[in-house]
């Protein structure tokens, strides 16, 4: 009796899981709330660390998940989620009922909504944008200020919505630093004599080749790094953004006007993930991501037998880690299905 698995979430993790499961001969119904799959991937321009085009990874995932075993249901979320004697009944928002032997939750993350950090004035001051807005600008090939002019001096604020008790996120989102450095280099490439300032608390460049990217940003592109958490941003009379920060290594407060301020928004548990947690009775941790059974050898296993996690719904992850985590989820699912034998 061929097994059927429901994968909730059609992002990087979802596509990878669905594709790999179909290769194991398991039929999959892949639920995606948006009209098209790929999740955040389709918002990105070039990916760190080697700055390859995000389209390449998208194409790999599409090819992987395009198989008759995978029934893709876009524009649908989970309305009901019931488990009885290790079968799962899921009713989608479009009313379709699915019976499955296992469920893989791949709901991923949402970017922190920067307007919650009121003192940075996102949504109020014209030239305060987020890193996602900047990626969109890169995709359309035009980096401009609100009035259409080309910015010459760009500030990047790290840790917006991460490592910040005031917004309830104590954890570090791990990827904003490397994203900031990547975007700084891209800005310098797009705009000839631009000058980029990164305001950081700690430069967390832990991944492979991240440090080299950091050094290249300094050496080749003259990006300046000022250690200090920006306290507030406000708009001057000529619509520049006034940044107030303490240059902690010089030990003095610093004031600077920039043409454009980019907020490096952190990662949070996605809204979809939260609703699945309620529906499925899945435990979430203090940082509101799904609580995994074991941090070392059980990072795909949930507190409900038969429900598995894949990707950034458990913790901030880059694309490499997401794909590896998804592959681990597939091996957990196949092992579980073999063991349960139903």
């Amino acid at each position: 009796m061929s097994k059927h698995v429901v994968v909730i979430g059609g992002g990087v993790a979802g596509l990878e899981t669905a594709g790999r499961l179909s290769k194991e001969g398991i039929s999959v119904s892949l639920l995606e709330k948006e009209e098209n799959t790929g999740g955040h991937l389709s918002d990105w321009y070039k990916l760190f660390p080697d700055r390859r085009d995000s389209g390449e990874v998208k194409k790999y995932l599409d090819d992987l998940s395009k198989s008759e075993n995978v029934l893709l249901m876009t524009g649908s979320t989970v309305a009901e989620f019931r488990k009885n004697n290790n079968h799962f009944h899921i009713i989608t928002s479009k009313g379709k009922e699915i019976k499955a032997d296992a469920v893989v939750v791949a709901t991923g993350f949402d970017l922190f909504s920067s307007s919650r950090k009121e003192e940075y004035g996102y949504g109020i001051y014209d030239n305060v944008i987020t890193s996602a807005d900047l990626e969109r600008m890169f995709r359309n090939g035009k980096i401009t200020m609100a009035n259409g002019a080309v910015p010459k001096r760009i500030g990047m604020v790290h840790c917006v919505g991460s490592r910040d008790e005031k917004v309830g996120n104590l954890y570090c989102s791990k990827l904003c630093c490397v994203t900031a450095v990547k975007q700084a280099i891209e800005i310098r490439e797009h705009i000839k004599d631009s000058k980029v300032f990164c305001f950081y608390m700690d430069m967390r460049m832990g991944g492979a080749h991240y440090e080299e990217l950091y050094r290249e940003a300094q050496e080749k592109w003259g990006v300046s790094f000022i250690r200090g958490k920006v306290s507030e941003a406000s708009e001057s009379i000529n619509h520049f953004i006034v940044v107030k920060v303490e240059d902690t290594l010089a030990g003095r407060p610093l004031r600077m006007e920039v043409d454009l301020l980019v907020l490096m928004a952190g990662m949070e548990m996605s809204k979809g993930g939260k609703s699945i947690a309620e529906l499925g009775g899945l435990k979430t941790g203090e940082n509101r991501f799904f609580e995994v059974a074991d941090h070392h050898f059980g990072s795909n296993i949930s507190n409900v037998a038969g429900v598995f996690y894949a990707g950034a719904c458990t913790a901030p992850m880059n694309i490499t880690e997401t794909i590896s985590h998804a592959r681990a989820a597939v091996s957990e699912v196949t092992e579980y299905l073999k063991a349960s034998g139903n």
């Binding site: 949504g123 109020i124 009379i237």
Partner: protein, 353 residues
């Protein structure tokens, strides 16, 4: 500047303000900083709006000035506050309205503490019993006097004789709103519009025809921190803070400043005089200063009260420019006449210094 951004934040911070039967508590220092303000508040509430505002003769300071200067321990402050609440309960009122922003901050802090630590409240109940034999009830609604005026800003606008509009240009007056730090910075949810973009004064200004100015240093403290201006050695910090704000708002050419705290109008007004003395700098247009008002004074002007009844002659930065712009008639000669038209000591102001 996108206005919707601010409106979205304002909508998140709505505050419940009582609409009548207020137990009004005065500030220790506002009478001698701006004597006309508290009287104007009572006159507006009682005569103009016909509200019941009761002022208990035995109410005292909230001891906040001592508490923030590390002179009064917190238990003492709480007992004094408990006694104030006892007076309110005895007078049969439930809506507590302090006139001073620092008091409002202290009352909020104490009520929050009691809410989270009921055992402290019981301990204070015992203190009060031993000290005065009184019993007290926590007020059902705490609102600052400016919240109340904010709540009735529409009614005031309806009865307004003048608008915050420049008579000869028809342009709305450019108004800088400066909110006392103790109003919302400690408890953002307790301020109308939150801590970042408080709406309590902006609401009044927009209602009365003015236009609010958003300048970079609007969050900066005015310099009234007790330990800054009390100790002469630190007074340099106090005037430096005001100067930061003036330098930052100057390009916007504001017509006036509206405030809701005892200290801010005092220092934003006095330090303009001192800066002019020390550095010969004036921040208003054509050689004048920027007049500084409390919200009661602005409400009074809008309602057509006589400027000298509002005590505007006590300002060290002359208010005449705003009066002329709003087209308010006033008689310069009896600026310093008492009701028995005896000349009191003339204040050395910025212009005629």
């Amino acid at each position: 500047m996108k206005k919707e951004g601010k409106k979205a934040i304002w909508s998140e911070y709505q505050k419940e303000i009582a609409d009548d039967k207020f137990f009004y508590v005065r500030s220790c220092i506002r009478q001698n900083f701006f004597p006309g303000s508290e009287v104007a508040f009572l006159r507006i509430m009682r005569d103009v709006l016909g509200k019941d505002v009761y002022e208990h003769p035995c109410h005292t300071t909230c001891s906040g000035i001592g508490y923030h200067s590390d002179v009064v321990p917190v238990d003492t402050a709480m007992t004094v506050v408990a006694r104030q609440f006892a007076l309110m309960t005895e007078a049969g009122y439930k809506n507590y309205v302090p006139s001073c922003i620092t008091s409002f901050g202290l009352y909020t802090e104490i009520m929050e503490t009691w809410q989270h630590f009921p055992e402290v409240k019981e301990r204070i109940r015992l203190h009060l019993k031993n000290a005065t034999g009184r019993e007290f009830e926590v007020p059902s609604n705490l609102a600052h006097a400016s919240d109340v005026i904010y709540k009735f800003r529409k009614e005031i606008a309806a009865k307004a004789k003048y608008k915050l509009i420049n008579k000869n240009t028809g342009e709305p007056l450019k108004v800088v709103d400066h909110i006392g730090c103790h109003y919302a910075k400690m408890f953002p949810s307790k301020g109308v519009g939150g801590a970042e973009y408080p709406y309590v004064l902006a609401g009044m200004v927009e209602e009365w025809g003015g236009e609010v100015v958003d300048y970079p240093e609007r969050r900066h403290c005015c310099g009234f921190g007790f330990r800054q201006y009390l100790v002469q050695a630190n007074r340099g910090y106090s005037v430096a803070c005001s100067k930061e704000k003036f330098e930052s708002m100057k390009p916007y050419k504001p017509d006036m400043i509206i405030t809701n705290c005892p200290g801010c109008p005092m220092f934003l007004d006095r330090w303009q005089y001192v800066i002019n003395e020390m550095e010969g700098k004036r921040y208003g247009q054509n050689g004048e200063g920027i007049p500084v008002f409390t919200y009661e004074e602005v409400a009074g002007l809008v309602l057509g009260f006589d400027p000298w009844d509002l005590g505007l002659q006590m300002h060290q930065t002359d208010c005449e420019p705003v009066l002329d712009k709003m087209g308010i008639e006033y008689s310069p000669e009896d600026k310093y006449k008492t009701d028995k038209n005896k000349i009191v000591h003339e204040v050395r102001t910025l212009v005629n210094a």
